[in-house]
Structure formats: C-alpha cells, structure tokens
Symmetry: C2
Subunit: 204 residues, 2 copies
DNA sequence: CGTTATACATACATGCATGTATTTTAGCTG
DNA sequence: CAGCTAAAATACATGCATGTATGTATAACG
C-alpha cells in the first residue's frame, strides 16, 4: 500500500479495467463492488478510495472510452463541405473501419447497449447517453437539412426522415455487429447498405 | 382469497400486467417481487403461488406477448412466392404497420431491448431471445439465398450480407423508434429506407 | 354440512451488498 | 528517525430481497 503516486494511478486504471471486464461478463446491475475488487486483485477499500460508488465508477469507465461519435461527426465541417452527402458517406465508412480496431470502445459500447439497465441510480448515466445520442441525432438532422436546402435530397425523403433512417441504419449495424460479432462482417454488410441509402438520398 | 378459478386466472393476468408495468418503469434487475405485488395490489404470496420466481414470471410475460417476427415471417411461404423480394418487402411494411398498434408488444419489446441485462438467472431468457433472433436471421438468410440462386440479387450483395443488412435495418428502425417514440415516425422513415434497400437488392 | 384443497397473506430466517468506521502499511518530509 | 499522511485492507452495522414455512379464509365437493 501507498507505494507511490503513479502506482495509485495504476491501481485506478486496474480497477477500471476490472470493472469493464466484469460489467461485460455480468452486466452492470448484478455486478458487486466485491467482484470488481476481486477481478482487480484488491478489496473494496481500494475502490472506495478511488471512487465514490458504483455509479461514479461506471461514469469513469464510460469517460475513459469516449465513443467515436463525438470525434468523427463535426456537423459544421460536414455542412461546409462541397459535396455534403459524399463527405458524410465517406466519414461514415471511416467510422465503420475505425470501430473495428477499437477493442475498448467495443467492450464499453456493448456494456452501454446490452449490459446496462439504466434505472435507479443509473438513470443519470442514461440521461448522459441520451443527450449524446440526441446531440448526434440533431447534428445529423442539421446536415440533412442543409442537403435538402441545397436541393440535393431526393423527393421521397425529408431532412427528418433521412436523418432518422441514417441513424437507424448506423445503430442497427453497430448493434447487430456487437451482438453477433464473429458471424458478421461489419464492412462487407455496411458498405453496400450505406451505398443503397446514399444512392436513394441522391436519386433524381 | 380463493374466490373462484377464473378469479385466480384474473389475478395471474393482473400480476403479469403489473410486472410489465414495473419492469418497463424500473428495469428487470432492480425490480423486486414486492414492487410487482404492490403494483398489482397484492402481496408476494400471490406471486409465489402463481410463479416459481422472478425468472419464471419474466418468461411468462415474454410468452404472453409473442413477438411479431414469429407470426409474420414464414420462410417457406416467402421462398415459394413468385417475386420473393417484393413479397418480403410488402411483408415487412405490414409488420411496421402492425407493431405500431400493438401496445403490449411495444412495452414488452422495450423491456427486452432496453430494460433487461440478461445475466445471471436471466441468461436463460437471453438464450431464448438469441435463439429466436438467430432463427429469424437464418430464415431471412434462407430467403436471400433463394433470391441469389434465382439470379435476382444484384451483384454487390451476397445472400449473407443482404440478410445482415436487412436485419440491421429492421433492428435499427425498431430500436430507434422505441427509444424516441414521440419524435419518430416509423412508417415515414421506414418506407423510404426499405425502398432504398430493396431497390439496391434488385438493381441490375 | 363437514372436509379438503385452493388461493392467497403473513411471518420468519438467511444471505448478501452497501457504506462507513477503523486499522494497517508504506512513502514522504523535516 | 519521528511523524504524518496517502493508499489501501479489514471490520462492522444496516437494510433489503429472497425463499420458505405457516396461517387463514373460502370455494368446491361429496
């Protein structure tokens, strides 16, 4: 105990790693702090030293793996592009490629999607997630509004429905992939799927 | 107590209703049998009389709202159709229309998707769900295999990726809709989205 | 009309997770 | 080297959900 300062920081990271692992295996609600401590090779004392409680630990884990949506979709840049649709299309493919390599992101996103109930104390975590999702949704809608304004959106679509379909497609791809990882080739499926969508957005 | 036989059946239904309501509000893991009993206006005794435990109650709730996938997608019929793709397309639109009217289905599906962690005791419930999903996935893949065999599937798609994209799209639509119900018009978004997908499947 | 099984309610024992208080260990400081 | 404090481990009190055992009222049945 009390080895040194960065030794404590190392402990903190170990606890977060352990939390990720146990949350992933067992889900958030049924995971006890004892289990996390055991996984990290310590006792609950260490956890309570570094974190206020389970919710704080959960949030810290969520923060450590800042999800890709925030860093990949800059609505201002997208709207400013020459060919907004093509830029969004390419951008999306880039995200698909990226997430495949991001092991931590995959684990954390799986926890957020499938291993967490977001109730009681966790409601705050949900509202964070919701805000982030809503923010994403809104940015995408802004982008499509611009596309529509420029007359580049096929009739049959409106900014709102186009954005909804885009979000649904992305979300569907990710969750289907995370649920059946070994049996699902994200790029092989996502590429033609996005191609179909964007072709429809553009159609004369 | 001991009113009559169908009075007991009525109690059973009331318990299931209460479970649905509380699971929906609070999530499955953190819901206690006392809360369900209170919601139903009874005590835990009634629950333990009708159900072995929480898992059994959960399964009964799941069974009562048999989800639409089972009754709408008959792979054999689909494969036998003249125009398989068009039939699947129409079938899918019909499901979209139907689910909007099925309040119980909506609640239960929301619980299954967002209010349940599927761990510990619930893992069995998960494997049931998984089987059902996998079965659905497989049936869809069978359908697309037939389409491919007939040479009616555009190059750029293979049976597997086409089925994956279809499932991802459906799942994405449903979950996006259930998450933001008021702000999302399922048909208005789903119709052009499916049109885009199926147009791509067919493209010469 | 008495008995019995049904449909619950109530009471009780157990276990376990949480949070906090206390204690121990070891690095740092003068 | 003494003293202090950061970094944990340990101990303890509490609450609460579960499961089960027991109690009880009433419908069904002979």
């Amino acid at each position: 105990m009390r080895r040194t300062k960065d030794c404590a920081e190392q402990t903190r990271e170990a606890i977060l790693d352990a939390a990720e692992a146990v949350f992933f295996r067992q889900g958030v609600a049924s995971t006890t702090l004892s289990q996390i401590a055991a996984e990290a090779g310590m006792t609950r004392g260490a956890i309570y030293w570094h974190f206020e409680n389970k919710l704080a630990l959960f949030k810290a884990m969520q923060d450590r793996a800042h999800l890709p949506k925030e860093r990949f979709f800059d609505a201002a840049k997208l709207v400013a592009a020459d060919d907004v649709l093509s830029t969004l299309h390419e951008n999306t493919l880039e995200v698909l490629r990226f997430v495949q390599t991001d092991e931590r992101g995959k684990r954390v996103y799986t926890i957020l999607l499938f291993r967490c109930e977001y109730i009681g104390e966790m409601q705050e975590a949900l509202s964070r997630m919701r805000e982030s999702e809503e923010d994403f949704s809104n940015r995408i809608e802004t982008v499509f509004a611009k596309v529509e304004e420029r007359g580049e959106l096929s009739r049959g679509w409106m900014a709102k429905t186009a954005a909804g379909a885009y979000c649904a497609a992305i979300h569907g791809l990710f969750s289907h992939w995370l649920r059946t990882e070994e049996a699902f080739d994200l790029m092989a499926t996502g590429r033609p799927m996005l191609a179909a969508l964007f072709a429809s957005y553009r159609a004369a």
